[in-house]
C-alpha cells in the first residue's frame, strides 16, 4: 500500500503496468468468439439464437445449414445453461438482439410486437403442416412462427426391470406410484420425473381432465382433479422411490441409461441415445390418468423459429427463415431425425422420414397423435413460471395445493388481463 504513495515510479512498475494492459487486451480478445464463421458472405449480417440441444452434432448441423445460405452471413449463438428464456429475453432488448430465434409460441411476444407476422411465407405451404402446429402459432388469423420440430414427452421404461418386479405398465397415477415403490431397490430408484418435477406439470393438468386455459382464455387448471394429482405427487416425492438430485435432468437420457431409475420422464429426442444404450430393453407410455375423470396424456412440446420484428433486418431474416425452414426440406428432415428424434411438423417430411416408421419411434409418433396436447399460445412464460411455484410449494414442500393454486391464479389473472384485457 505505502509503495503506492511514492510517486517516483520505477521503470519496473511502468513495465508491470504495460504487461497488465497487454493481459487485459488478451482477455478482451477472448470475448470475440461469437460463432461467426470467419469472413463468409458479404452484405447482410444475421444473428440467430438457439438453446443448446444435447445431442451430438446438432450445433454443427445448424451452422452447416446457415453456412449454406448465400444471401446473408448468418452467425449462430448457441446458448448453453438451463435458462435460455432469460438469456433470449434479455438479448432481445439490446442493440445486439438476434434477428432470428427459436422459442415456443407465447402470446406476449406477439402482443408486445416482438415477433414478425410470417403468414405470407407460410400460407403457400400451410396445408403441408400439422394443423395443430399452425393453430398454436396463430393469433387473429396471422401466423407468427414456423414450427421446426415437434417433441412429444412421455415415460421411458426398462422392460426387463418391470418384468422382474412383476409390474404392469401403469395407466393411472396410483399405479405409477405403486410401480415406483415396487421397482425401487437399493441401487435403482423406481421413477425419475426430473429433479424439480416441473417437466410434468402440464401433463398432470391434462391427465386430470383439466387444461391450462379454456377456450375463452380463462383459468382451467384449478380443478379438484388437479388438486388430487398434486397431493398424490407429494406422497410420491416424499416416498423415497423417486430419483432426485440426479446429475442430469429429464431431458438427458443418462439417468435411465445408467440404471439410476427404472422409469424416466423424457422427450422423444432422447430415444436414439436410449436405444443405443439399452437396445430392446426400452418401452414408452403416456402420463397416466389422474382421478376417475382423467385420461392419459402426452406433452407435444417442440421448438419454433421466430423473426425479431424489432430487428434491423426483418426482411432479410424472413427470407432466411423461409429458405431454411420452409424450402430446404432435406435440412428439415436432417434436423428432425439425424440427431435426436423429433417429429417433423410437415406431413410431407413426416411421411418420408423412414426412421420414424417402425419400432419404438413409430410408437412414439402414435402416442403423439393419440394422446398429445399442444402448447396453448395464451399460456405464456409468466403463467408457466407461476405454476412452477405450485409444484415447488405443494409438491416439493408440504404446502396446501389449494392455497398454492390460489396464489397461482392471482398471478395468471394479472397476466391474462394484460394479454386479453
Amino acid at each position: 500500500m505505502s509503495a503506492m504513495s511514492n510517486s517516483n515510479f520505477s521503470r519496473r512498475s511502468l513495465f508491470r503496468a504495460a504487461a497488465g494492459m497487454a493481459a487485459a487486451g488478451t482477455l478482451a480478445a477472448c470475448g470475440s468468439n461469437n460463432g461467426r464463421g470467419g469472413s463468409g458472405g458479404s452484405g447482410t449480417q444475421l444473428t440467430q439464437y438457439f438453446h443448446a440441444y444435447g445431442e451430438a452434432g446438432t450445433e454443427q448441423a445448424l451452422k452447416r445449414y446457415a453456412a449454406a445460405y448465400k444471401k446473408a452471413d448468418v452467425s449462430t449463438n448457441w446458448i448453453t445453461g438451463n435458462n435460455f428464456e432469460s438469456a433470449l429475453f434479455a438479448a432481445l432488448l439490446t442493440k445486439k438482439a438476434p434477428d432470428v430465434f427459436e422459442f415456443h409460441p407465447q402470446l406476449q411476444l406477439v402482443k408486445s410486437g416482438q415477433v414478425a407476422d410470417l403468414s405470407d411465407l407460410i400460407d403457400p405451404v400451410k396445408d403441408d403442416f400439422n394443423p395443430n402446429d399452425i393453430n398454436s402459432h396463430t393469433v387473429d388469423g396471422k401466423i407468427y412462427g414456423i414450427r421446426m420440430i415437434d417433441d412429444p414427452q412421455f415415460f421411458f421404461y426398462r422392460k426387463s426391470m418391470l418384468e422382474k418386479a412383476k409390474v404392469d405398465v401403469p395407466t393411472t397415477l396410483d399405479e405409477l406410484i405403486d410401480a415406483a415403490a415396487k421397482l425401487t431397490t437399493s441401487k435403482v430408484k423406481g421413477l425419475f420425473l426430473g429433479n424439480d418435477f416441473t417437466p410434468i406439470q402440464n401433463t398432470l393438468i391434462w391427465s386430470a381432465g383439466a387444461d391450462t386455459l379454456d377456450a375463452k382464455n380463462q383459468i382451467a387448471y384449478h380443478t379438484p382433479g388437479v388438486i388430487e394429482g398434486l397431493k398424490k405427487l407429494r406422497t410420491l416425492f416424499t416416498s423415497g422411490h423417486v430419483l432426485l438430485d440426479a446429475p442430469t435432468d429429464f431431458w438427458d437420457p443418462s439417468s435411465l441409461n445408467q440404471g439410476l431409475c427404472a422409469i424416466q420422464w423424457g422427450g422423444m429426442w432422447s430415444m436414439p441415445a436410449m436405444q443405443k444404450a439399452l437396445g430392446d430393453d426400452l418401452g414408452i407410455f403416456p402420463f397416466p390418468k389422474v382421478g376417475s375423470a382423467g385420461k392419459q396424456s402426452v406433452y407435444n412440446g417442440g421448438w419454433s423459429i421466430f423473426v425479431n420484428a424489432k430487428g434491423k433486418n426483418v426482411d432479410a431474416a424472413k427470407e432466411y427463415v423461409k429458405w431454411l425452414w420452409l424450402d430446404q426440406k432435406q435440412y428439415q428432415e436432417d434436423w428432425a431425425t439425424s440427431y435426436g428424434f423429433h417429429i417433423p411438423p410437415r406431413t410431407s417430411i413426416a411421411n418420408s422420414a423412414t426412421k420414424l416408421k417402425s419400432g419404438l419411434p413409430a410408437e412414439g409418433v402414435k402416442l403423439f397423435t393419440d394422446y398429445g396436447h399442444f402448447d396453448n399460445i395464451g399460456f405464456d412464460q409468466t403463467m408457466i413460471t407461476a405454476f412452477n411455484d405450485v409444484i415447488a410449494s405443494s409438491v416439493r414442500k408440504s404446502g396446501n395445493p389449494e392455497a398454492a393454486l390460489d396464489a397461482c391464479d392471482k398471478k395468471v389473472n394479472v397476466e391474462l388481463k394484460k394479454l386479453f384485457g
Binding site: 500500500m1 429475453f89 408486445s112 430419483l243 438430485d245 440426479a246 413460471t385 412452477n388 415447488a392 416439493r396
Partner: protein
Amino acid sequence: MSTTTTRGVAQPAPAKASSARPRRGLRGNPTLNFWLFTGPFLIGLVIFVFVPIGWSAWLSFFDARYTVTPSHFVGFDNYKQILTNSNFSGSLVTFTVFAAFIVPTTWALSLGLALLVHRLRFMRAFFRSVFFLPTAVSYVAAALIWKMSIFNGVRFGLANTVMSWFGVDNTTWISNPTPPWYWLVIVTLRLWIQAGFYMILFLAALQNIPPELYEAAAIDGAKPGWQTFRYITLPQLRATSTAVILLLLIAAYQAFDEFFNIIGTKATWAQTPLMELYKTALGTDQDYGAGSAGAVILSLLICIVTLAQGKIMGFGGGEK
C-alpha cells in the same frame, strides 16, 4: 486502507522543480502520473458502475417494461410494487438468515486458519497458497461441482458415499427442502471459496502485531493461549475484523451465483434478493422499473447496514 491518506506520509518532494530536463517530465509530474494510472480504471468505473447506478435509479421511477429507455413516469409506483411483493421481502429474510450464519462462521474459520498458518514454522507459504487457492475458483464452477458431483442425490455422489460408510441412506441434498440440507451445500461451498481470502487478510494483520506486546504481556503474567489471544491478539485485529465482517456482509447481500446454480429459480425457497431482482428485471416480465426500484432499495439497505456497523465497531474513525 485509510492510512495512506490520513497519516500524511511525507510526500516525496516533486523532483521536477530541481531538474528541468524534459526527459524527466513523465516521471516527475505527479498529476499526470495520477491520471495515467488511475484513468483507465476510473473510466471503467464510471462506465460500468456509476452510469448503470444512475440509470437504474432513473429507471426505477418509470414504467420500464420490455425497455430500458422508458418515457412513462410513474413516481413511486415501482417502489410500492416491489415492497408489497412478498417474494422480495421473503428474499430479504432468506438473506438475513444466510448472513447471520455465514458471516460469523467465515470470520471464525478464516481467523482460525490464519492463526494456524501463522504459527507454522515451515511450509508456511505452501499452506498459505493451499488455503488461498479456492478463491481463484468461480462460484459457478464450484456450484456445479458441489451440485453434480459432491452433493448429488445418487448413491455414488461423494457425500452419499461417505454417509453410506456409516450406514446412512442416500440423502436428497438439494431438491427436497425438508429438512433443508441445501443450506449445508451452500454454506460449505461459500466457506471453501471465501475462507482463504480472508485468512490472508488476517495473516497480514497478525504479522503486523508487534512482538513486544506479547513479551510485555508475558512479563505481566498473561498466560499464553486463550488469555493472550483474548486480550492481545483479538483487540489488535479489531480493524481487520471490522473490514472483514463488512466485506463478508456485502458479499452475503450479493449472493447470487451459487444460489442460482444450486437451487435455481423453480423453487419458492432460498431465493436471494438478487435472484428476485433478476427474475423481475430479466425474467419473463422484463420489468426493469420494478427491478431497478428493488436494486435501489437493496443498495440503500447495504449503505445503512454498513454505516450502522461502522458506528458500532468504530470503522473509519481513525486509529485510537
